[in-house]
């Protein structure tokens, strides 16, 4: 391909890309991001490809990434030239065969469809009676409450086809930005009010301005894609589904601050994201969008992919820099901040994946457009990964300021199997657990921090009545304690002591003084730790102590209200239900169950080790925990 020099060149590629996005003979797409693959999408793809051949159907078959509705994976799309997109859900190999056979008979199989996605003109397509049975994505709660801005091309385009990205307006922002002066770009980003999507919420434009003003000719930009928060995967999804949006954002940022080199630091646990990034960078280079004299502007920029090696603490910016420099990922005190002295001692801007992906949109549509969504202090949208005990798990993009209730109950559908919602854990190990009373809290940086949680990267794990909050706090402490880099004592020792206390409480060995000791330690670790990891590690403990104190107290009295902590459970046999078959006694490894054949048995609790073997063995369901 020849290098792009003019807007006309871009327009030409846009036209080519549009034809590939909506080919005249129709197109089949299989969602093949990591989550699709985990659900078996690769096998479905092969089945469909073979089926199309067998039935002589003249559809193009292609791969796309994630449409966000992960609980319905694998998703298959039928795209008709008029612009209609039909999404089929939970298609396995067997269904794939039947589906292709049905298509060959002009049968759209509406009963397997999830929805139809409306076309550009805003109206759902209602072409035939069969289509009328398929609801529009606007009628699905999961999609109707969302506002897809950053994710709008994920699942639409083939992430490995740069032309399809250009067809959706991609790289036109870069073209526009290169006609602007660096300070004009920084001013626009500042006016947009965009704040860092990695968690802390620092104003992006201000960060750029500080770096722009920092003395020195060599500067760097870095994309933080070390998405370590368990329960968050929006960065993976953007990198897998639309890698060019991040690359374009970084080129614009580099031009604005005067950097000629950049790094994308990706977790090694995301092999597909790394692969897509490398391919996308090579494509951008080939078209002259990266490298020397970009779009004939005289501006040059090199971009590298750096694979992380598995350390949660490297999500902290100074630790990440140390890692790229080839050292242990240990944070250092700030100031100086990276905007003054960052990578190799040079001024550096570090932004998160989602932040970079917002940049081209702001340049294309302006700061006012960006501010029209969200709240005055937290403008724009935010992507959340909704997981755990909720019906519709997946990746959702919503305007800032939406309430937790809307997100969890309207989009997510609430907990499955009629269970009671107990709490939502926001922001990973650095965040907090918020109870049902706070469901009407608007989601923005300030409200969440005030409630004791934090935005974090946007992980949202819903837990129901079966989850023990003390055990959940212990789980997070186990994580942060293991991931503490060990450099500063408050974090290294404090998290260890807190974990010990939490472990003993869940094992029924808690002492009356433990709760106040835990609180004291948590506040100390929060105050005295060097970096964000230690300063936020106590959040899960502090929030559960604040909102679920009664559960802690119950543990001290020898009870686990969620019936989760094994050491605190007492198993008993209901004499009404027991038929005296003796299966439980035979299953018991401790010989702790006594009774005569045909008569109700009983468990000797002093011998019981709570292995639950008897519960599984009982045919009558007579054994329960108390």
């Amino acid at each position: 391909m020849t290098k792009i020099k003019t807007r006309r060149d871009l327009e030409r590629l846009r036209e080519e890309g549009e034809r590939e996005l909506f080919p005249p003979h129709g197109k089949i797409l299989v969602g093949m991001a990591s989550c699709g693959l985990a659900a078996g999408a690769d096998k479905v793809y092969i089945k469909i490809a073979k089926g199309l051949e067998r039935h002589g159907l003249n559809f193009t078959i292609g791969k796309t990434a994630c449409l966000g509705f992960c609980s319905r994976e694998p998703l298959v799309e039928l795209r008709i030239p008029s612009g209609l997109r039909l999404i089929y859900q939970q298609i396995d190999e067997e269904k794939a065969d039947t589906l292709v056979a049905a298509w060959s008979r002009n049968d759209l199989t509406p009963e397997w469809a999830l929805c139809q996605i409306q076309g550009e003109k805003g109206e759902p397509y209602l072409l035939s009676p069969a289509l009328r049975q398929i609801s529009s994505d606007r009628d699905l709660n999961f999609y109707s409450k969302q506002r897809k801005v950053v994710l709008r091309n994920c699942g639409l385009i083939d992430p490995l086809n740069i032309k399809e990205y250009i067809a959706c307006g991609g790289y036109f922002s870069l073209y526009k930005a290169l006609q602007m002066s660096p300070s004009e770009i920084i001013e626009e980003v500042k006016r947009s009010g965009l704040r860092g999507r990695g968690g802390a919420g620092f104003p992006t434009g201000k960060k750029w301005e500080l770096c722009y003003r920092a003395p020195g000719t060599k500067k760097y930009v870095i994309c933080n894609a070390d998405e370590g928060d368990p329960g968050a995967y929006m960065d993976r999804s953007i990198l897998e589904g639309n890698p060019h949006s991040v690359i374009e954002g970084m080129i614009i940022g580099a031009y604005a601050i005067g950097a000629d080199e950049g790094y994308i630091y990706v977790r090694a646990e995301y092999p597909l994201a790394v692969k897509h990034l490398r391919i996308a960078i090579a494509q951008a280079k080939e078209l002259g969008l990266l490298g020397k004299d970009i779009l004939g502007s005289g501006f040059s920029f090199r971009l590298h992919v750096f694979e992380g090696a598995g350390a949660f603490v490297c999500g902290e910016e100074t630790a990440l820099i140390a890692s790229i420099e080839g050292r242990r990922g240990q944070p250092r005190p700030r100031p100086p901040y990276p905007v003054e002295s960052g990578l190799f001692g040079k001024p550096t801007v570090i932004n998160n994946v989602e932040t970079w992906a917002n940049v081209p949109l702001i340049i294309a549509q302006g700061a006012e457009w960006f501010r029209s969504v969200g709240t005055p202090r937290s403008p724009g949208t935010k992507i959340f990964s909704l997981t755990g005990k909720v019906k519709n798990t997946g990746l959702v993009e919503v305007p800032m300021g939406i309430t937790l209730r809307e997100l969890i109950f309207e989009i997510g559908g609430g907990p499955p199997e009629g269970k009671q919602f107990k709490a939502v854990q926001i922001g990973g190990p650095s965040g907090g657990c918020l109870p049902a009373e706070l469901l009407d809290l608007p989601i923005d940086y300030e409200s969440l921090t005030q409630a004791g949680a934090m935005m974090g990267s946007g992980g949202m794990v819903v837990v129901d009545e079966d989850t023990c909050m003390v055990e959940l706090a212990r789980f997070f402490l186990e994580f942060t304690q293991a991931e503490s880099c060990g450099q500063c004592p408050p974090c290294r020792l404090g998290t260890k002591r807190m974990l010990e206390i939490l472990t003993r409480i869940t094992q029924g060995r808690g002492k009356p003084r433990d709760l106040s000791l835990l609180e004291e330690l948590a506040l100390g670790v929060r105050e005295a730790s060097l970096c964000g990891l230690g300063r936020t590690a106590p959040n899960p403990v502090l929030t559960t102590l604040r909102y679920f104190r009664s559960e802690y107290e119950a543990h001290l009295e020898g009870k686990c209200p969620a019936k989760f902590c094994r050491a605190l459970l007492a198993y008993q046999i209901d004499p009404e239900l027991c038929v005296g078959c003796g299966l439980c006694a035979r299953a018991c490894p401790q010989r702790a169950i006594f009774g005569e054949k045909g008569k109700p048995h009983r468990i000797e609790l002093r011998l019981c080790v709570r292995c639950r073997a008897c519960v599984s063995a009982c045919p009558k369901g007579a054994i329960t925990a108390r």
Binding site: S34, G228, P230, F306, E483
Partner: protein, 163 residues
């Protein structure tokens, strides 16, 4: 290195990288890609190649979870215990699989056939609980499904996730 052949292989891996200390991590990753672990002799070679102290190489190799100084099994099983997997019963899967294989998390079988590892979040939380065998991801697991997969799934290419 143990044999000349392996020594030559290592030399070839190293020669692809400029001798700059900041290349330490990608270099160690390349070595581990080749040998499936970091042999002690290789650490020495890397230190000499980059002209940095062995202590620094060792420090980095032991800091990051990705690196392992002991050989891993041919079939590397990684079970996720991120938050979503934990809430949805990942712990029970680890327990059952560990029992079945007779290995504790982090261990490798004596015949170097299988190794078991716990990872924190593979980013497939919506299909929790998940695990990876070789390079393949499996989601929506139950203990029985996990055991069945471990018995029946043999990944042809150990490195398919990287290719």
């Amino acid at each position: 290195m143990k044999g000349d052949k392996e020594g030559l292989k290592l030399e070839k891996v190293l020669s692809r990288w400029p001798r700059e200390p900041h290349n330490l991590i990608p270099l160690l990753q390349a070595v581990q890609d080749n040998f499936h672990y970091l042999p002690p002799e290789a650490l020495d070679e890397v230190a000499q190649y980059l002209k940095i102290p062995l202590s620094r190489v060792f420090g980095v190799a032991t800091f990051y979870a990705q690196f392992t100084l002991s050989p891993r099994g041919k079939r590397h099983i990684r079970i996720c215990l991120g938050t979503a997997c934990h809430v949805k019963g990942g712990t029970e899967i680890v327990k059952k699989v560990a029992e079945k294989l007779g290995l504790r998390p982090g261990e490798t079988s004596k015949d170097l056939e299988v190794s078991l590892e716990i990872v924190r979040c593979l980013g497939c939380c919506s299909l929790a609980p998940v695990m990876v065998i070789g390079g393949r991801l499996f989601g929506r697991l139950t203990p029985d499904k996990a055991l069945h997969l471990i018995e029946n799934f043999y990944d042809q290419d150990q490195n398919s996730e990287r290719s």
